[in-house]
Amino acid sequence: MKRLIVLLCLGVMILPVMAHEIKLTGEMWNRWTLETGNAPAGENTILRNNLSLERGYLGLEPKFSDAVKGRFTVDIFSTDLVKDGAGLKIKYAYLDFSKLLPIPDMTTTIGLQKVYFGSIYDWDYTLIGKSPTDEYKFANSADYGLTLHGYIPKGWGEYALGLYNGEGYKNYGANLKNNIQPAFLANLRLIPVAGLTLGGSFMLNSSERSDSLSGLGGDNPKYNEQKLMDAYLSAAYGPLTLMGEYMMKDVTYPNDSAKDMSANCASVNAVLKLKTLVEKDIDFVVRYDRSDPTDSDKDENIVTAITGGVNYNFMHDDSSNPAMQLQLNYTNKSNSVKTTNDSSALMLQLKWRFNNTLKS
């Protein structure tokens, strides 16, 4: 941890010297959570009642030239729920080259970066919860890799092709699987008419390695190949935005086919923005998720989650982007088979963000 902090400090000192301009960004999520559910003994009780800095992002975005930009973001959290009380991870550390290839509006990105799968890469947390792809562990929100991301002329959509490690940015040490195959990704979003977005993502990933490194040789039964698909639909009209997503994951174990399994999830949410109706910038949000997070095809448990909430946005900048957001969400989660896992959570969150651009 000390080394990481030293590196961060060095980065903060060196980047402004090298960059033409540098943007400093920050975002903090202060949250109160009250969660109720079943205790291990079976009785319904309060499982969690705590305040936390659930997430904090601090970032540097240096611009080296019109064609070369960087982004360096650390993800911090502080809560008494974990042993050390706080944690720090590098979320992004990448360079964008906008003119490396002679394709208009396309950027080549190298480093620890976004994963362009489903809604995970542009999820704006209008609801407190994570994007369904993140929440139900279909894909990582960030990973090490190389991507080509571009926009289709005249605002007709965007595309991405990526090559990633496939492990995500959070794994380390014993959690890190011994995997030598990269993950491949393709993502396409089309906007045929203003307000209607259709999209799809496809990803091939794997975990572990096929052969065993234990010294005995032979096949590794834990090696698995993953095929992930996502369909995305968004419709925005006036103050109302509807978003739907369906994702599925097929996992095959070439060395142990008895473990083969699949998972799927459907999620819809709606956001009603009232700022054009009333003087205050208020959103109403609802969300419905139906997930089959199967670890094994023998497990037929279906998780259903329903969320309702309201946001109050305030302290707007010149572009009407709010610097602060007060969010209240209530989520009820139920299980079709494992009903002892049923729970509900009330969350109140104050989110605040800032940014400032320094020029050399």
Partner: protein, 270 residues
Amino acid sequence: MKVRNVIIILAILLIGVSAFAKTNKVVCSGSTTVLPIAQATAEAFMDKNPNVNISIRGGGSGVGIAALQNGTVHIANSSRPMKTKEMNQCRAKGIAPTAYAVALDGIAILTHKSNPVSNLTVKQLKAIYTGAIKNWKDLGGPNLPIVVISRDVASGTFEVFNEKALGGAKVISSALLLASNNAVVTSVADTPGAIGYAGLGYLGDGVKTVSVNNIVPSKATVQNDTYPLSRKLYMYTNGKAKGAVGSYIAFIQSPAGQKIVENEGFVALK
């Protein structure tokens, strides 16, 4: 609640929003270059249409376009065409950006009045702004260090200059970056070795305008697009401009509006 009830509630809400949109209040924000055109034409338009209230803010082209995306302005003023990324973000949010050209402009290259250099090529401009040429004597002028003055990166004028004159190259780090056309003109007027750039509408007696590739920025050279740093100035709306917004933009594009554009020092549409 039955699905039918939900649909009825949503329909009532949408009708309410549509009714709200039919207001006579017009809100514009964005480019500081377009600002004087918007202000002068708005005054004339409101004189003729006292029931319409037009409020105008600056902030830069990028700020105006972001506000249009957020649905908080009716018009985004921009001194550059909207970028593909911005277009994409707008359309994803249900905003259909529609561009209306309201004037033409040339980005004039300015030097101190005492500077004898009267012409620069685009290649020389790039060399100056990237730091390859640092003294006026290398351009046939006096032995005087060049003080490079540029607009800040949020400015549409910077983006057009950066694209047309610099080909996207990085401006020398010692350049003085200023937030408005007026600030550039004032700084160049006060600094003997300075070079800067600003829209034609901001020129004054305190500075000298040099030709670019031997073409002087003028009404004729901007209109026939021979001046290398000529551009269009835009107003963007969500879909086709209607109601008071449509009337206001139609007024700017009319002969009466274009006369005001010229009075402000810009070039009328062809």
